[in-house]
């Protein structure tokens, strides 16, 4: 299914010069992904159209196997789509880029390197003063001061993910891709790290694309939530969450959004 995407006239070219151009960081048009298997093929993504604004916190929510991780991998340049286009800042994605950092679900940091060396990974080109300052700053920002010389095996799961977040932030990325970064943690640690992610995001304002299958996680973090259908993954609906932070689990509006998301996912949450 090779679909040619027509170059539609963009808003930008039509708009009068004095109007501010619409801000689009990531633009996904007609994206599809089909994995070829021997004598068979598996379609995991179909007709994804999505625009992400700069500095937005966007959650991709969907059941396991809906292709949300595959979508993130394509955006990050680790994988390629079989249909459609992905543009970041107007440029097609050709491969991984140090300005767009990926935080993996588990073990993305290097177990053979200390916390300090892990965070310094993306700063190799910096002067040593600058490197020192940045590494120390981001280690402190994620609350790991005092653990600079520790190795990942000596840290808890939550602390390891803090290292991964610090490593990503240290390069001052435009975009951070997070593929269920809290998925391996216990529920209390998750809650705590969500709050910290939010605080850091509000301070640094990178664009965040956050994949999760947890409705509460998406609702607490996302400005918009892209709800995806099971395989082949399509966008069921994009839910804008106008709730102010801190978002309270118990508030009635929160409950309404939650019901809506469960409904879109086709799951009964009251059991």
């Amino acid at each position: 299914m090779n679909r040619i995407v027509q170059d539609r006239p963009t808003l930008r070219s039509d708009a009068p010069p004095q109007a501010a151009p619409p801000q689009v960081k990531v633009s996904i048009r007609g994206l599809g992904k089909t994995f070829a298997r021997k004598g068979d093929s598996l379609e995991v993504l179909r007709d994804i159209d999505l625009s992400v604004a700069p500095g937005e916190f966007l959650c991709l929510l969907g059941p396991s196997g809906c292709g949300k991780s595959t979508l993130l991998n394509i955006l990050a340049g680790f994988d390629t789509q079989t249909a459609g286009t992905v543009e970041i800042d107007g440029q097609p994605v050709t491969g991984p880029d140090p300005r767009r950092v990926f935080v993996f679900q588990e073990y993305g940091i290097f177990p053979w390197a200390s916390v300090w060396d892990n965070v310094a990974l993306g700063l190799r080109r910096k002067s040593s003063d600058e490197l020192h300052r940045l590494v120390a700053h981001y280690i402190e920002l994620v609350g790991l001061k005092g653990f600079e010389r520790a190795y990942p095996s000596e840290l808890s799961g939550g602390m390891r993910q803090r290292v991964a977040v610090a490593r990503a932030l240290a390069v001052k990325p435009d975009i951070i891709y997070m593929d269920e970064p809290l998925g391996a943690l216990d529920s209390l640690t998750r809650l705590q790290l969500r709050a910290e992610l939010l605080r850091i995001w509000q301070e640094e304002r990178p664009t965040v694309l956050f994949v999760t299958h947890d409705v509460d996680e998406a609702l607490q973090l996302g400005e918009r939530i892209v709800v995806m259908t099971p395989r082949p993954g399509r966008i069921a609906e994009i839910v804008t969450v106008p709730l102010k932070h801190p978002r309270d689990f118990g508030a009635p509006e929160y409950g309404q959004f939650k019901n809506r998301l469960f409904e879109l996912l086709g799951v009964r949450h009251a059991i």
Binding site: P96, D97, R100, F102, F110, W112, A113, Y151, P152
Partner: protein
């Protein structure tokens, strides 16, 4: 039959039982010591059981000993220990293993890393390596002697050969099994060339390389004895052959024990490598 082995075995068993109630590092010493003691007692008892009295045709009775007792073994080793032969031969064996094993590591690790990284590299050399690998190093002894003579070089060649294959295979597998997230992290931060090698590929492979070194050293120590029996005229393997030719079985057994003890020491030395911060993650359970 002497009674002491039974008494001592009883004491050793009691010690094993007592370690149940001991805390701290003591059981780690007591347990293996007790096992070794029981082993020696069993050795003594089996020597006495196997001792056969044979009535010769002329009516005299001869005691045939098929195996030296622990004490006889210790006495048999007295001479090689005091005149320095044992030390000299042990050093000769360790020296050959060190050189041969070092050469194998020096060549095997880079070749394995390269073959693991490049698909074409693996396709090119892997079948050859896998075909040479099952050939016992012992089978190479005739060629080694033909090429190098009855000299150190022959033994070193055999050691290098026998350690090379586990090391190369270990390094190659290590690269092939680097988890995808590490490779992607490296790609994401645009690590390339030597930096990619130094910061990701090598450290990710080190634990497995150390494991393969440990296996290779074990094999090398097995092979050196066989090689020295035929290919040279010094070393612990030669000591065994020489003692056998002199019908001195006390010394044969004593040399065997020496080989075992040095083997334990070598393995312990390699395992120290597992403790470095950079590789500890690959050996601990979590």
């Amino acid at each position: 039959m002497s009674n002491w082995p039974f008494v001592v075995t009883g004491l050793a068993l009691a010690t094993i039982f007592v370690t149940r109630f001991l805390k701290g590092p003591l059981p780690r010493v007591l347990l293996p010591a007790a096992t070794a003691t029981i082993f020696i007692c069993a050795w003594q008892v089996s020597c006495e059981l196997l001792r056969q009295a044979i009535r010769m045709p002329d009516g005299t009775v001869r005691i045939i000993e098929v195996f030296p007792t622990p004490w006889q073994t210790a006495l048999g080793m007295e001479q090689p220990i005091t005149d320095g032969t044992l030390l000299r031969f042990a050093v000769a064996s360790i020296y050959r293993v060190a050189i041969g094993f070092g050469l194998a590591a020096l060549i095997g690790i880079p070749v394995g890393l390269w073959a693991g990284w490049s698909l074409r590299g693996a396709q090119a050399i892997n079948p050859l390596i896998q075909a040479l690998r099952p050939i016992s190093p012992i089978a190479w002894i005739p060629l080694a002697v033909l090429w190098f003579g009855v000299k150190d070089e022959a033994a070193i060649f055999l050691i290098a050969l026998s350690s090379f294959f586990p090391i190369v295979t270990g390094a190659m597998t290590a690269v092939r099994t680097i988890p995808l997230v590490y490779v992607r992290s490296a790609e994401n931060f645009r690590l390339e060339g030597f930096e990619l090698f130094r910061r990701v590929v090598l450290p990710a492979c080190l634990p497995q390389i150390i494991s393969s070194l440990r296996i290779a050293l074990g094999i090398a120590w097995l092979v050196i004895v066989a090689a020295e029996m035929i290919a040279v005229d010094s070393g612990l393997g030669y000591l065994i052959m020489d003692a056998r030719n002199a019908n001195n079985y006390e010394r044969v057994v004593g040399s065997m024990i020496t080989i075992g003890l040095i083997g334990v020491g070598l393995d312990w030395a390699v395992r120290r490598l597992e403790r470095f911060d950079e590789v500890r993650w690959g050996f601990s359970k979590t």
